[in-house]
């Protein structure tokens, strides 16, 4: 097995990973940084984020407003010290991106423009048309090329962390084009591997979002926090699950049911006015909008299609000029995939799995419970998102906490002694595990069939609304799949770019991550934010104003523990949107 040595290894080269690498390189150019990703940096899923990133920029806005919007949106499950830090730091981060060339959309005089997003008191979303994540990712990647201390291992699949005596000493990774395993010795590891939306059947997430980094930390003993909170984005294209940005509604789009009625006014989100009103109607938070869809569907007021029930996104009144200028990708996608031109047609949409609020448990410095192991971005859970993330806070989060991870990792590197011998043995075990998978016979359980069983079961049991019965059924499916994974078939036995093996490794991670989602959902007997139980409809602060912590158990269900939520200045209250929102 080849050995690669670096000071800091970053798992994942998307927004958070690149930001962490640059922060580390700027903090100390003498510290070597290695970006290890299963894809090339520009393929990372940050590129698919459309709408924008929130930061206080205008004089009518304030950090306090951003704090309150975020905490309220999170249904008070966010840690308020983290939110406070986040809203303070994000304006500087977005400005930094501007200095690096990010093509933010502008006002006439040349100032950065902002647009409204759901759950916001004042509009504060910086955007680059409807390709904000794409431009941020490419700006970060291209900027990272300036720093000689940043090296990359592209298309290397990270497999296991190497941990000895509570301290992380590196990881193992498989080079995809040769199938060779490598031991990457590092004084600090930052996981920035993104979310796991692919554990659901219907998702906006790209194929690569299989929760590999989450699973890696989880198996090494770090708890996964608040995993039951899965965000459904209200406007995905039926069939493909392709995202249509919240910017469609921020710019003034309506959601209509089959009677051409703006149904959100029936769910405490009114009044229905022609112009977009902040924190009301279509600019309510994502959890409320997705839940309203479910109820409309129950009432038979949605439209049946071959892809399931849909409602309509109406942007016709926005006009061709505005749509082409601010929502060009949306127009392209809708025309191509559902043959509907937003300029002239209603666009069918339905809620779709979009984001994991939960993830690797970290503190406010992006540090995990393992010394020298950090996490940032969607794979991590600080948490500023709590039970429901506000649209346009995730792009900010990956910058703020990516940068912190990079800086704190540099500090850590300076104090570290050399790794022990035990990690060589761990690396050999890790290689053995991959080789065993590689040598699986051609007959047995098929990767694709197991993946379908998992994703459909997650959709059924852990969807927008859940009950003990549905979740239990999903838990049983997962237990079954964990057993079946031992009999997995591998039909491709070549070393070069073996995507059968690649997908088998991903499937293993998906099953573990899905297990934490289902188990955490089962044990949270209340409804809060994106976790809605039909059998426990009320929020229960007395018992569950807590973070769930899922601990790995190789032979059974994850052990769920709870940790306190940090509350500094905003006491839990009712979440009010619509006309009476503050």
């Amino acid at each position: 097995m080849d050995t690669v040595t670096t000071d800091i290894a970053v798992v994942g080269a998307g927004g958070a990973g690149l930001r962490a690498a640059i922060a580390a390189a700027e903090a100390d150019p003498a510290v070597s940084v290695l970006l290890v990703s299963k894809v090339y940096p520009m393929r990372s899923h940050t590129c698919a984020a459309e709408g924008g990133a929130a930061a206080v920029a205008k004089s009518d806005d304030s950090l306090e407003y951003h704090f309150n919007d975020t905490v309220t949106g999170a249904d008070w499950l966010a840690d308020q010290d983290a939110v406070e830090l986040f809203v303070n730091e994000i304006p500087r981060e977005l400005t930094l991106l501007e200095h690096w060339g990010c093509p933010w959309s502008r006002e006439d005089a040349g100032e950065v423009a902002v647009r409204p997003f759901g759950g916001m008191k004042i509009k504060r979303t910086w955007y680059a048309a409807d390709k904000t994540g794409f431009h941020m990712l490419h700006t970060l990647f291209q900027t990272s090329l300036k720093y000689p201390s940043i090296k990359r291992l592209d298309e290397h699949f990270c497999v296991d962390l190497l941990v000895d005596d509570g301290r992380c000493h590196g990881l193992t990774a498989m080079e995809v084009r040769t199938g060779r395993m490598k031991m990457i010795k590092a004084k600090a590891v930052i996981i920035a591997s993104g979310g796991a939306g692919r554990i659901f059947a219907f998702t906006t997430n790209g194929a690569i979002k299989t929760g590999d980094g989450m699973a890696m930390a989880y198996r090494a003993g770090v708890p996964l926090k608040d995993m039951e909170f899965v965000q459904y984005h209200p406007t995905g294209l039926p069939g493909s699950g392709i995202l249509l940005t919240e910017g469609c509604r921020g710019e003034g789009g309506y959601l209509l049911n089959k009677d051409n009625y703006r149904y959100l006014q029936d769910y405490n989100l009114g009044p229905a006015e022609d112009k977009p009103r902040l924190k009301a109607m279509e600019l309510g938070p994502r959890d409320r909008l997705s839940q309203a869809f479910y109820h409309e569907s129950q009432k038979g007021r949605t439209v049946e299609t071959k892809w399931g029930d849909v409602v309509y996104l109406d942007m016709r009144h926005l006009g061709e000029k505005l749509i082409d200028e601010r929502l060009p990708l949306v127009r392209d996608l809708a025309r191509s995939y559902v043959n509907a031109d937003p300029v002239t047609d209603l666009v069918p949409v339905r809620p779709v799995v979009h984001y994991m609020m939960g993830g690797i448990h970290t503190d406010i410095n992006a540090a995990t419970t393992i010394d020298g192991l950090y996490a940032a971005g969607e794979c991590a859970c600080v948490t500023i998102n709590g039970a429901n993330r506000l649209g346009s806070n995730s792009l900010g989060e990956l910058l703020v906490f990516g940068a912190r991870a990079g800086r704190f990792a540099v500090e850590h590197v300076k104090s570290v002694k050399a790794p022990g011998d035990i990690i060589e043995k761990q690396a050999a075990d890790s290689e053995g595990r991959v080789k065993a998978l590689f040598r699986r016979p051609k007959s047995g359980e098929r990767v694709a069939a197991m993946r379908n069983a998992l994703t459909l079961s997650m959709e059924d049991g852990c969807g927008i609304y859940r009950t003990e019965e549905t979740i239990r059924s999903t838990c049983n499916t997962i237990t079954d799949l964990r057993a079946r994974f031992q009999d997995l078939a591998l039909e491709d036995h070549s070393n070069v770019f073996n995507t059968d093996l690649y997908q088998a490794l991903e499937l293993g991670c998906m099953i573990e991550v899905a297990h934490t989602v289902a188990q955490s959902a089962l044990e949270r007997k209340e409804s809060r934010g994106a976790h809605q139980r039909l059998d426990y409809e009320a929020r229960d602060d007395a018992t569950y104003l807590k973070h769930s912590m899922a601990y790995y158990n190789p032979n059974g269900d994850p052990r769920i523990d709870y940790a306190d939520v940090v509350i500094t200045k905003s006491q839990p209250a009712a979440r009010v949107y619509g006309g009476s929102a503050a």
Binding site: G101, D108, V496
Partner: protein, 247 residues
């Protein structure tokens, strides 16, 4: 109703078994909204686990799934089956070595992309306390088109010049250099010129224009290269004028 079926002729190359590439035919269903990528995923999941290709976002933005489809470089996620006949030929991008099946080796592209200093080079470092640069919508528009490249490499596949002279830096990388050159916040044109205005750079381009025709994001790299040629030529001539600079 019997569903329409089509034949997918996919170029296979398994380096450990095959001396050279060959075509394998798969029969796949053809729903109205399917793209070639969906058909490949069907093959991978239902017929043949050994087929390898890259993909991720399925929404024209990650740039992973560039392939040659019926002779034309395309994103597999943007090539709808409904627009093709009953037989579709799928090959890896041209002008790159084939790693395996539809996966090409893209090391050369990455090196070229990195060689053009594709990052903002400001006149002087601006502190964060000074806030953002001002940039009017007109100044933004001047370079915006060239910032839309998703690095899918369809342009390299279409460019005969790159095929014939592999040292050519190529359309996407040169367009990216132009993107920064045209940015009102950037003063790095001179710094990039050594690479960009070299023989391997813009002057290798003979303006076939194929890159711009196949670009899925309308970046128009051919246009960008001609514009750089024009400004480099002006630089050259003005350098001979009295007081004309560095020559």
């Amino acid at each position: 109703m019997t569903e329409r079926k089509i034949e997918l002729e996919v170029l296979r190359y398994r380096p450990e078994q095959d001396a050279e590439p060959w075509f394998q035919t798969y029969t796949v269903p053809c729903p109205e909204e399917w793209v070639v990528l969906d058909a490949l995923n069907y093959v991978k999941d239902e017929i043949d686990r050994t087929l390898s290709y890259r993909w991720s976002c399925h929404m024209f933005v990650c740039g992973s799934c560039g392939m040659v489809i019926d002779g034309e470089p395309k994103l597999a996620c943007k090539a709808f089956l409904r627009d093709y006949g009953d037989k579709i030929r799928v090959e890896p991008l041209a002008n790159f070595p084939i790693e395996r099946d539809l996966v090409i080796v893209m090391d050369d592209f990455m090196e070229k992309l990195e060689s053009v200093k594709p990052y903002l080079i400001p006149k002087e470092e601006k502190s964060l306390d000074e806030g953002s640069y001002l940039q009017t919508p007109a100044q933004l528009k001047a370079y915006k088109q060239y910032s839309m490249c998703i690095n899918c490499m369809l342009c390299y596949s279409a460019c005969p010049q790159y095929g014939l002279a592999p040292e050519f830096i190529g359309p996407a990388a040169l367009a990216l250099a132009h993107r920064y050159n045209m940015d009102s916040r950037d003063v790095g044109r001179k710094a990039r010129e050594d690479t960009v205005a070299s023989h391997e750079g813009i002057w290798e381009c003979s303006f076939v224009g194929a890159c711009s025709e196949v670009c899925p994001k309308s970046v128009d790299p051919a246009g960008a290269i001609q514009q750089v040629k024009f400004s480099s030529a002006i630089d050259y001539f003005t350098s001979w004028l009295p007081g004309g600079g560095s020559r």
